[in-house]
Subunit: 343 residues, 2 copies
């Protein structure tokens, strides 16, 4: 067969704050001969769906800045978690037609990357939920919510949890787990639409932090036994001011700091004055302990509809740049997935 189109997303420029569509990432229309491309012991993948996650912004940095996540190189095709189908394979355990999950280059077709913290894995046939859901509530986002909550919340019925970005892909899972444990849930998000969604999934006190003073809400509805931290900045400061003595803060992300926005916290002294415990975690950190239980106990709840979820699916690989920007600005509703191709 002759070469076919292969749209690829390149990292073009380090953003100073929010990523700019068409500038931070650029789309190139390249070609690939899927019959003859060298595999070198690996496999050729056709990308089906890509997960657009907040942490990807942390890879768009100067390469000399150390972090747990490697930096994208300018001029390199970016990569992130996604689902693909194997087109050809020289790799043991992977055969043409297998659906796989792992770190994928943002290309329509590519030879699989070397394995990393998230090795490429073959998904079982007949997933109980859609590809997009497997990338959200059944993947990194849902898994982060499930595993972080299980490991660190140590929740007791009747306690109060405050979840930031409670309408988001991770937050909405934490909200629903907390409700199942009999907790009172305070949730914040940045639009009236998200407030409505928070109420739909059971948040007891749902508010729009852009129009309501977070500190006032927490002062009235707190103290907070558990704070699920996704944003940092002023929200963290308000939470610190309203934590219960011996409270727990679970740090899943500090999204407000990813895009060059600086904030000077005033209430860090609450950490010792209230004897708080703060636990940060990465999905990859807890996955070895919880993956089996997550797929066994939690994903079926998604399949039956007992756990609600929400996706914002954008079609076309060339939409990655826009999707990233929408997510970083909080303009999305639900888990952001770029749908690249049908199976």
């Amino acid at each position: 067969m002759s070469p076919i189109r292969n749209i690829s997303i390149y990292f073009n420029e380090i953003p100073s704050d929010y990523p700019i569509p068409g500038q931070t990432l650029i789309t190139k229309e390249e070609t690939i001969d899927i019959d003859t491309v060298e595999l070198n012991g690996s496999c050729l993948l056709k990308t089906l769906a890509l997960s657009i996650d907040p942490y990807l912004r942390l890879q768009m940095r100067e390469t000399h800045i150390k972090s747990y996540f490697p930096a994208y190189e300018v001029g390199e095709v970016i990569y992130g978690l996604g689902i693909a189908v194997v087109v050809r394979s020289e790799r043991e355990g992977f055969k043409a037609g297998d659906k796989v999950y792992g770190l994928l280059r943002h290309q329509e077709y590519h030879v699989a990357m070397p394995d990393s913290l998230t090795p490429l894995q073959v998904l079982p046939p007949g997933l109980p939920i859609s590809n997009a859901a497997m990338l959200g509530v059944g993947g990194l986002a849902g898994g982060s919510g499930y595993m972080g909550y299980k490991e660190y919340a140590k929740a007791k019925k009747g306690q109060t949890i405050f979840v930031s970005t409670a309408a988001g892909a991770v937050g909405s899972v934490v909200v629903q787990l907390a409700k199942r444990d009999g907790l009172r849930v305070i949730g914040s998000a940045g639009s009236e639409e998200k407030v409505a969604y928070m109420k739909e999934i059971g948040v007891d006190v749902a508010f729009n932090y852009k129009t309501t003073d977070t500190n006032a809400v927490l002062a009235k509805e707190g103290p907070i036994d558990i704070y699920w931290e996704n944003v940092g900045g002023a929200t963290l400061d308000a939470a610190l001011a309203n934590m219960q003595v011996h409270g727990t803060i679970i740090v899943c992300g500090v999204m407000s700091s990813y895009n060059g926005v600086e904030y000077a916290h005033k209430n860090l002294s609450s950490i010792f004055a209230k004897s708080l415990h703060i636990h940060g975690f990465l999905y990859t950190d807890l996955a070895p302990k919880y993956t089996e239980e997550f797929y066994r106990d939690f994903v079926p709840l998604v399949a039956t509809g007992a756990i609600k979820h929400n996706e914002e699916i954008t079609r076309g690989l060339d939409k990655v740049g826009e999707a990233m920007a929408r997510l970083q600005k909080g303009e999305n509703t639900g888990k952001v997935v770029v749908w690249v191709a049908d199976e």
Copy 2:
């Protein structure tokens, strides 16, 4: 007997940054008749020595700002931990001549305050260490270092600990405990004199953060398994950047934030990216669990000289304001004690 002099220290004005001697606190020369003053079931105390601690700055705030520490009222005599001798008593368990430890008003003589988190207690006769040492290495400071380290460090031989304010009353205790456990100790402080003292007590890498870049030192000498946090601000940011994955931060104080100095942290994302655990604590929180062990196992090490300590003793109650300012600015060397009277 006719009334005698009773110097008293009043809270005069809420400071906007560092407390100003003669303005934040003012000295009044009052009188008291120690033979006739009403005790109302309490006891009359003659103050011997007062502990000047960093946290006292947190009490010098607007009264509407909630905190675990009550705010001083403007126009009120301030109070803090100290040692006194009982002059007269109507209270069971306290008799004239007993030496007591607890929250004392900053007055030469006063009727004991109602009991609080730190109830007044009678000290056993024949203390193994001096009154001043009992207020420092054998009191709140040493106890905070000992208890916080024992509860949260979970140190393993060969690990690296970074101690901020390592020449201070708390930090110097943590340094020496860590050395006894076979740790490699990095210590920071703000003068060459303090660097010399850090070396004297066993700090392996001692540096002056005012003349050396903390981040550069930690990048070279880290990663840090355990960070003992006394200061916050840029030091915390540098520590976050150089923590080991799964590292522990023990928050004893964030002194840089007490005096109106604001700092926007850039590295809070390390909390989740490195799966860090942060534990804040108060002495009063851990004291029920550790007090017996502290006096049994640790204070004797002070008495024999196996644990070194350093005090800056200022004579005269009217020196409290200056002593507070020196401490907040880090101009002191060693535990700050105001010596009010001999026994």
